[in-house]
């Protein structure tokens, strides 16, 4: 039982990374119609940035949690203004390919600068302990990551549903054409939303920094699991991204615990099942093929 709880927590913590990053992916897709291939690379940049900031400026984990997403937001804004925006009117495949090219450049730049071995990062003081609940001892950091991810997801949800900005963004996601007809300046929100999504990927990377090996390739597999997450959740759906993120984290953790040789395959089996039974994803709307 105690082992099961630990696996569950492990899954929820990993799911937190997926949910946050997938949330960013979903928001960007919703408003811009862009599937950002470089999302994994941005997650990697978030982790690398927090390690480098700690090393050079002595910036603590808590500050990184605040500063890095802002830096990634700026990075996202630049990326959108300089590159992505030119292809927005074309088939989304073009931006998929563009961001794939960006990924190649980013990964190899980091590899050249910081090598292939992992950058060191300590668990932040105060979070390196364990909490004991009854007879079960759990990693405090994993509890923190899970709670923090849930909190951010709820905050984003509140932002999207309770504020005027959120209403506009949701309307643009739902039906950009009609929103425009109703006098909403959809184009105005494109750049900040892209930056916001990249910021979320960066935030996910900061959370992963004390927990995962920080290497240039850490986002390569991550982004493909993210794609599986959004296919499972339904690409247009923000709730779907979050739920599927945690679901995939749990599947991965249970898989690693009970069927280690199939852990990675399980996620894709789950995706295949969803595609077979409900092609538009668990929370996606049916679309005319």
């Amino acid at each position: 039982m105690s082992a099961f709880l630990q696996y569950t927590l492990q899954g929820l913590a990993a799911g937190g990374f997926y949910a946050l990053a997938a949330l960013g992916l979903a928001v960007i897709f919703g408003v811009l119609g862009v599937v950002n291939f470089s999302h994994g690379a941005c997650y990697m940049l978030g982790a690398v940035a927090s390690a480098v900031l700690l090393d050079t400026l002595g910036l603590s984990f808590w500050w990184a949690l605040l500063v890095v997403p802002v830096l990634m937001f700026v990075f996202g804004v630049l990326m959108e203004r300089l590159l992505v925006q030119w292809l927005l009117r074309l088939d989304p495949l073009y931006n998929f390919l563009l961001t794939f090219g960006i990924t190649l450049v980013l990964v190899d730049l980091v590899k050249r600068r910081y090598g292939v071995s992992g950058l060191p990062y300590q668990l932040p003081p105060g979070l390196d302990g364990r909490v004991t609940v009854g007879s079960v001892s759990l990693s405090l950091y994993q509890v923190f990551v899970t709670l923090f991810a849930v909190l951010v997801c709820v905050a984003v949800w509140a932002l999207l549903t309770q504020t005027r900005i959120g209403m506009i963004v949701r309307a643009s996601t739902e039906d950009a054409e009609r929103s425009r007809a109703l006098g909403i300046n959809v184009g105005r929100w494109v750049t900040p939303v892209f930056g916001f999504g990249i910021g979320l990927a960066g935030l996910s990377g900061v959370l992963a920094a004390p927990f995962r090996a920080i290497t240039a390739d850490m986002g390569s597999n991550f982004v493909i699991i993210l794609f599986a997450v959004v296919v499972i959740g339904g690409l247009g759906s923000i709730l779907g991204a979050v739920v599927a993120g945690f679901l995939v984290g749990l599947v991965e953790a249970y898989g690693q615990a009970y069927a280690p040789s199939f852990a990675q395959v399980l996620i894709f089996v789950l995706m295949a099942l969803v595609v077979l039974v409900r092609p538009s994803g668990l929370f996606g709307r049916e679309e005319a093929a």
Binding site: G30, G33, V35, L83, W86, L87, L90, D91, P92, L93, Y94, F96, L97, L98, F100, G101, I102, T103, L104, V105, V107, D108, L109, K111, R112, T173, E174, D175, A176, S220, N221, I224, F227, A228, V230, V231, L235, G236, S261, F262, Q264, V265, F268, V269, M271, A272, V275, L276, P279, E287, A288, A289
Partner: protein, 341 residues
Amino acid sequence: MSEQLTARADLELAGEPVIPASRPGLRWAMLAVGLLVALALPWFIYPPVAMDIAAWALFAISVDLLLGYTGLLSFGHAAFWGTSAYVTGLIAINAGVPFPLAVLGGALAAMALAVPIGYLSVRRTGIYFAMVTLAFAQMVYFIANQWRSLTGGENGLQGIPKSFFGIEAIETDSFYFYYAALPVILLGVLVAWRAVNSPFGQVLVAIRDNPARARALGYDVERYKIMVFVLSAGLAGLAGGVFSISHGFASLQELAWTTSGKVVLITVLGGIGTLWGGPIGAGLVVVLEDRLASSGFNGVGIITGAIFIVIVLAFRHGIWGTARNGVAAWMRRRRSGAGGS
């Protein structure tokens, strides 16, 4: 937003034939030049690199069959290239048959794998199709990684022989091996050429340009998509099999998503919707990577990625398409100039 999710014709496919069909002479001349280049390649380029170019060229053609002619971007074609690399290697090691037979076996295995993957993937179009194929390819990668007894895990499959009727020159000298393997590649190109210049190919283009109308005309769109997917996987398999025989080993790299990405990059760089693009892109990328690797520059992705960004932003027709449009514009200008005087 749903109209953005479907594969639309505005993929800016350079479909319109600039070289009119009324000039078949030019077409045959181009084919002859292409064949000559293929035959002369190992005289000018280190033969194993020439072999790589030929294999990647066919691989790119297989991707273009889906992307350029059917409007489906497969981002998981490494699954077929890599599966065939392993199966070809296993057949060559264990059965001792001449290598073209082993490659054929590998291609068949790739096609068998493509049936379930294609069946599931064609349920989605556009960007979803790319993501789903990518994810399935990653699944194949993990299975190969786990199935150590068969694939050798991280060590890969080593010591794949180039058996060819005991002819020593071919089995040991990569220069002669090139000429023994080239017919296998050309067979693949011929199949692709026949496919796109047939009624089947016309249906594919119809599906690309307007799936709803193709359906209304009574074509079973899904079935055609699965058929071309399996055919494309077979061509990728031929290429991957030749590649693994040529290198004498098959590694997980062959199944990795970077390989899927590289072939898409080659295809788009060369130009989609034309069988010439793949070979041109393959020649450029393989030679570039070879030069960069031998100059000791690590970070090939910075260069190839940057080139790719420029291509996607500014030259979406790829090298072949851009050159063709340039020539067409020049010819038009010259003709109108001549008419005016």
